[in-house]
């Protein structure tokens, strides 16, 4: 699976809708994305909603979203995440997640 690391410069002028369109276009093409400037919980929920509109049981089952906030932004204290990973649904799995470390396995 191809993995795209997207810098915050690439997303900072995008609206939520534009970000979601970009994410879904890539993920539907079997690309995993790592956003340097992560999605807020509200943006993640919007992505969830748009993903549901695009699910086609035989071709696209949805996405996996993993946010990694770092030690100071865990536990709902902040609404902005520092890193978000989005992958085609069922293609990645969290091996370990602590405030200081996130381990992900490609399936």
């Amino acid at each position: 699976m191809e993995i795209n690391f997207i810098s915050k410069n690439a997303t900072k002028y995008l609206t939520t809708r534009e970000k979601i369109q970009m994410i879904l276009r890539l993920v539907r093409n079997n690309v995993m994305i790592v956003l340097e400037e992560g999605l807020s919980p509200e943006e993640q929920l919007e992505l969830l909603k748009e993903t549901m509109r695009e699910i086609d049981p035989l071709r696209f089952v949805g996405v996996d979203i993993i946010s990694f906030n770092g030690p100071n932004r865990l536990q709902g204290r902040e609404n902005v995440t520092s890193l978000t990973i989005i992958a085609p649904g069922g293609k990645i799995e969290i091996v370990k997640r602590t405030p200081n470390q996130l381990s992900v396995q490609l399936l």
Partner: protein, 202 residues
């Protein structure tokens, strides 16, 4: 009149729209049925081990909950479970035919969209978390973060405390800035605490 209310305390009756949110199979419908029963209404939700049993918002109106002399007039919304992916093959594992599983997956996607849309209309949200699982889950993070951002009062329920593997303290540690009530929606254990918290928030 309002100065009288201020003088003599809070209004004794309050109307509210209560949304019950969470991931699939955390016990939302069991809780909704418990609340309905405690309000003297007929439980309506169907409970199943197959994920996404609730695929449309189940609305129960005119529930009256009396908590220490305070009456809450509740419109309760039992929401479909939130998910980022819905794979019909998961349903096949539970014995559904492929056709039934695909149909269920299609209905489930619509249910999730509906649940997200209703977020703007609830006065108080109960976020149900399965206390037998790791609470730092992406659905919980995005749900609770969004409710915080929208300024909607939240009660986090650490459900399934009747099970031996339940670890409600982990839910409290994960969400230290929120009121977390350990309950068993199935047995009713500690449900009064949830109602008291609801009365304080409403």
């Amino acid at each position: 009149m309002s100065w009288l209310l201020k003088l003599f305390g809070r209004k004794r009756e309050k109307e509210l729209t209560l949304g019950i949110y969470g991931a699939p199979n955390v016990g939302k419908t069991t809780l909704a049925n418990r609340i309905a029963k405690d309000c003297g209404a007929q439980p309506q939700g169907i409970i199943s081990e197959i994920p996404h049993e609730t695929r449309a918002v189940e609305k129960v109106e005119k529930l009256h909950l009396n908590i220490n002399g305070r009456v809450l007039r509740i419109t309760m919304l039992d929401m479909p479970g939130l998910a980022t992916k819905i794979d019909y093959r998961e349903f096949v594992k539970y014995g559904l035919t492929e056709e039934e599983a695909i149909q269920r997956a299609k209905e489930a996607t619509k249910g999730v969209i509906e649940a997200v849309k209703w977020l703007n209309k609830v006065d108080v949200a109960i976020a149900v978390v399965d206390s037998t699982k790791v609470p730092y889950d992406q659905i919980n993070i995005m749900l609770i973060g969004t409710l915080e951002a929208k300024g909607i009062p939240i009660i986090i329920v650490a459900n399934k405390i009747d099970l031996a593997e339940s670890r409600p303290h982990l839910v409290k540690e994960t969400f230290p800035n929120h009121k977390v009530i350990p309950i068993s929606a199935l047995t009713g254990q500690n449900i009064e605490k949830l109602y008291e918290t609801l009365a304080k928030l409403a």
